[in-house]
Symmetry: C2
Subunit: 379 residues, 2 copies
């Protein structure tokens, strides 16, 4: 089995957007790509069959913090890893759990060694260190393992941001060492992506990119954005990072974002995205479509018998009507959350697929401008 | 388009069990059959695609009370009926709403005219009469319309049970008249099933059967059972009813029941069943399988990587493991409810399909004895 590799197929004219192909031991990923988030070993409200057949997902995420607590590494190891446990046989990326434990706020303590935290489920105490988090991700069986980083909030003081970034860099070295000292767990290659931090300080971001680039990892990630800063600032720092990260490695912007965020960041040279927005907002009745954004609970849809999204070549989106989906939300029916999640994920995958086609065709920049307006529209 | 018809294919030896075929304008139904309950226009947590492809449902239920309140007949008529609204193009049976409004207890008042009740959603006041309930079921677009009946609780005094049965009979006449006075709504035939009542009094049940039979409806239902009486009493009264209802018409036992209840009542001559048990209990982690009944939250399944139900020829039941399903329930994930509902409904449809095969093969009685033990087993 082989380490993850990246083939850069084409770069746009008048844009930093690129199309590429990532190869892993669980198959290929065509970039730019959106990765549905499967926090606890399930993309919420979607079966693995639907993820493949309807959504056409190429890679999904798992979450180290959540999977460590439930079902736990013992069960995952007994199953032979998360792929065997949940039946998803395409690539899986796990985030490091750093973001989650920092979100625990009062219930965690950061030290050089790692982070002491209390479970949100039963209050039990645990330590996440760079070493333990690498071990857990090995046990989960991720194809792509994320480095253990500290994600500072926005805004952060310069001094704190700098210290935090340096800690993230020292932790990265420990992650690399730990992976070098331990074998792949289930017979396929597990690949580390380091994470750029540095908050919203240009010199720190640049320094972090340089440090991360020097590690020559098979792919690189940008963390600490989309944490509350203005959208324009997020775009600016995304671009600063892509300018300073290797061209020949995939670039993953963590936790972003809206459909228009994704288009703008593809434009700035990002290859991989993940976000809970299509599923979480979908469960609350916010529907992303090729015609724009819909609040499906709105009375105006009560007798709109047009398909949820006639612009998608997807059975669910075309079979069910807006009126029916609205009814399901008004009546608080589980099927509403299912259909909304399927629609939103299918739309996100459609959007990055279209972007890819336009990058390959050479007209991404002009296509993007129109598409941003279209997907941003409030219907 | 033609009225519902029933072809009795075979009757068992040593049992009252029968196999038959119901023909409706939305297709055929092979009996004995179980009908998944789609209360508010959706079989909870299951897509219409899955109902067809995975569950292989032949007919589903809708609920007059719930559909009248949400989305309301105006929306359903604008859609062209429930089939168009939710995309289910096979037969639909609607219950009359009687059972629901009587369950409202303090918030309803029974008069000769009908039942005044307050909505459980917003407290608004409504009247259900035999006439209005026929009109609503026409608007919903049911293939099989249930008569408006009063379902007395168990136990009921003889005097109350008798008065209630007589009211149900008078209401039946008004239902028949109303349907005669109004046309089918959407170009296909809408067929009335009267309902036998009479609580747990043999003379009343017999009288009710005779009254109902005299109406020569295309099919007949038995109500007021499985409302708290002992299981043996339910079987006894089911048999009493099938002995006194026409042989050449389908017999529908309302709201029953467990897998073993269904087998026992097929044995006593019932052709059609509905129950919320497979979906409701499924959503709470009770899994019906060909191996017996499972409480999937039990710790013993944590590392059981065998399929949910290896005995079913069904992708979902064979693809996912007990350990994964348990994890989904422990982590309170929606997908758990989806998979449990799919498993339980698939199992119920498998069970009645098997029963049918054994009736046709002539060995139903001996097969049933073993199967009751098997499906009742606590795993």
């Amino acid at each position: 089995m082989a380490a993850l590799s990246f083939e850069l197929e084409t770069t746009s004219v008048g844009s930093r957007a690129r199309a590429g192909k990532i190869s892993t031991d669980h198959g290929e990923i065509h970039t730019p790509i959106f990765m549905p988030v499967g926090t606890v070993g399930t993309v919420k409200a979607v079966t693995q069959q639907q993820l493949k057949d309807d959504v056409e997902a190429q890679i999904i995420l798992g979450n180290t913090y959540h999977l460590y607590l439930r079902p736990g590494t013992e069960v995952l190891e007994a199953a032979g890893g998360l792929h065997k446990f949940n039946g998803w046989d395409r690539p899986i990326l796990t985030d490091s759990g750093g973001y989650q434990v920092f979100s625990l706020a009062a219930n965690r303590k950061i030290k050089e060694e790692g982070v002491m935290f209390q479970s949100h489920i039963d209050g039990s105490r645990h330590l996440f260190s760079p070493e333990s988090v690498m071990d857990i991700q090995r046990s989960i069986g991720a194809d792509i393992i994320m480095a253990f980083d500290e994600c500072p909030p926005y805004p952060s003081e310069y001094g704190y941001a700098k210290k935090s970034m340096e800690l993230t860099h020292r932790w990265l070295d420990r992650c690399i060492q730990r992976l070098a000292d331990t074998p792949d767990k289930y017979g396929y290659t597990q690949n580390l992506f380091p994470i750029v931090q540095g908050s919203t300080y240009k010199d720190l971001r640049k320094a972090s990119c340089e440090y991360i680039a020097s590690k020559q990892a098979v792919g690189n990630a940008i963390g600490g954005l989309s944490v509350g800063e203005p959208e324009e600032m997020m775009y600016e720092f995304t671009e600063l990072c892509t300018e300073n990260l290797p061209v020949d490695k995939p670039r993953y912007l963590m936790g972003v974002g809206t459909p228009w965020n994704i288009l703008e960041c593809i434009d700035r040279g990002i290859d991989m995205f993940d976000c809970v927005m299509p599923t979480r907002n979908g469960r609350n009745g916010m529907i992303f479509t090729t015609e724009g954004v819909i609040n499906i609970k709105n009375k105006k849809w009560a007798t709109d018998f047009s398909p949820i999204d006639p612009g998608l070549d997807n059975e669910i989106s075309r079979f069910y009507t807006k009126a029916y989906l609205r009814h399901l939300f008004v009546a608080d029916e589980i099927l509403g959350m299912q259909l909304a999640s399927l629609q939103n994920l299918s739309f996100y995958l459609w959007l990055v697929g279209e972007a890819r086609q336009h990058i390959l065709a050479g007209d991404f920049a002009s296509w993007k401008t129109g598409m941003v307006d279209q997907v941003k529209r409030r219907c």
